[in-house]
Assembly symmetry: C2
Homo-oligomer: 221 residues x 2
Amino acid sequence: MSREQTQQKILDAAESLFAESGFNDTSLRQITSNAEVNLAAVNYHFGSKKALIQAVLQRYLQVVMPRLELQFELLLARQKATRLPEVLAVFVQPLLDLEQVKPKGTTLFLQLLGRGYTDVQGHLRKFISHHYGSVLNKFVLLVQQSCPALDAAEIFWRLHFSLGTVVFTMASSEALFDIAAADYQQESDIESVIRRLLPYLAAGIAAPVNHPFDSMAQATL
Amino acid sequence: MSREQTQQKILDAAESLFAESGFNDTSLRQITSNAEVNLAAVNYHFGSKKALIQAVLQRYLQVVMPRLELQFELLLARQKATRLPEVLAVFVQPLLDLEQVKPKGTTLFLQLLGRGYTDVQGHLRKFISHHYGSVLNKFVLLVQQSCPALDAAEIFWRLHFSLGTVVFTMASSEALFDIAAADYQQESDIESVIRRLLPYLAAGIAAPVNHPFDSMAQATL
DNA sequence: GTACATTTCAAACAAGCGTTTGAAATGGAG
DNA sequence: CTCCATTTCAAACGCTTGTTTGAAATGTAC
C-alpha cells in the first residue's frame, strides 16, 4: 500500500470519529481499527495524535481559507462599505463547496471546528489565528466597516458570541438534527442550518447597544 | 473531620478544577489533592466521579432554578405578553445572586454549565431537561409569546443558537477576559459580559427571517 | 537476484485513569 | 473503658491511553 493511501485512510477514519465523539474521546486504536491499518501507523506517518488532529483540520482549512480571503479582499476593494448580511454571506459558498472536496465535507468540517474549539481549550484558536490571522483580520475589518456604530471592543465580544453560536451548534448538530426531526418534522441538512444561522448572527452582531439594556435595568428593579 | 466538611472541601476543589479544565481533563487525584483529602473519599462520599459532577452542578441549580421559575410564572401571569428583552432580563438577577452563595459563584456556575454542555455530549442536557424541564418550558412559552412572528421550529433553533453563545462564551470566558483586557484595556467581570450578551441575544432571537436571507442569495450569485 | 530503504506489524512500555479493598484511625453512645 | 459505626488511608486492581521497539514484510533500484 502506498504512503498516500495509508495516510488518507487514517485521515478519513479519524475525521469521522473526531467529528462524532470529539478529539479526546477518540482513541488511536479506534481510528486505526476503522482505517484497517496498524496502530503504529499514526505515529509513523504523522508523528503524534496531536499532529494527526492538525492534519485532519488542515485538509479543510487549506481549501476554505484562501477562498474566504479572496472574497474578503473583493469586498474590501469596493468603494462603499459592505452591509453586514453580505459580509456574513461570504462564508456560505466556500463552506458548501467543501461538499465537493468529499461527501458530507461541510458538515464534517464544521463539526471538527466545533470540536476543536470546545474539546481542547485554546489549541485550535491559536493554530488558526497563527496560520490564518490575515483572513480573520480582513473579516473583522469588514464587520467594523459595516457596523460603524460599534466600537472595536463591542465587535470583539459580538464576534466571539457568534463564534460560540456556530461552534456549539455544529458540535452538537447531530443531536439537534434528531430533536428537530422528531419534534418539528423538518428537514435538517447543514445548508438549511447555515441559512437559519445567518439572520440570527446578522441581527445579533448589529444589535443596538442601549435599548435592551435600559429595559432590562427597569425589569430588574 | 465531619462528613459535611469533607464533602464541601471536595465540592469546592472539584468545581474550581472542573470550571478551569473541564470534566474529562480533571482527575480525581487532582481534586482530592487540592481538597487535601484521600483519593478514595470521592467514591466514599459521592459514589463515583459522574455523581460528583452532578453534585457540583446541583449546588447551583437548586438555587437558581426555583428563582427563575418564580420569575417566569410572574411574567406568565401578566395580562399582556412580555417583551423579549424583559424575558431575557429575568436571568440576570438570579445568576448574579449566586455571588452570595459563594464568591465567584456566578462565574463558576456559568463556566460549569458551559463545560457540561461541551465536554460530555448530551449528559447535562438530559439531566437538566429531566429535573428542570418545567422551568425551561415556561421560558420557551414566554419567548413564543414575545415573538409571535416566529414559529416553534424557528424558536427552537434560535434558542439553541443562544445557548451556544452563552455556553461557549462562559466556557472560554477566562481566555476571552485576558484577550479583552490586553487588546482593549477594559474591565471584564462576569456581570459586564452578561450585560453585553443580552442585547445580542435579544436581537438574534427576534431577528427577521427574510431580509438577510435575500441579500445573501443576491451576494452569492 | 541481491541490496537497500520504506512500510507494516505484533508486542510491549510507561503513565494515567476511576474504582475497590481491607486494615487503621476516629468518633460518640452506653 | 468498651463497643460499634463512621470515616480515613495506603495500596493495589484492572483498564485504557499514546508511544516506542525491533523484527518481518514489502517495494524499488541496480
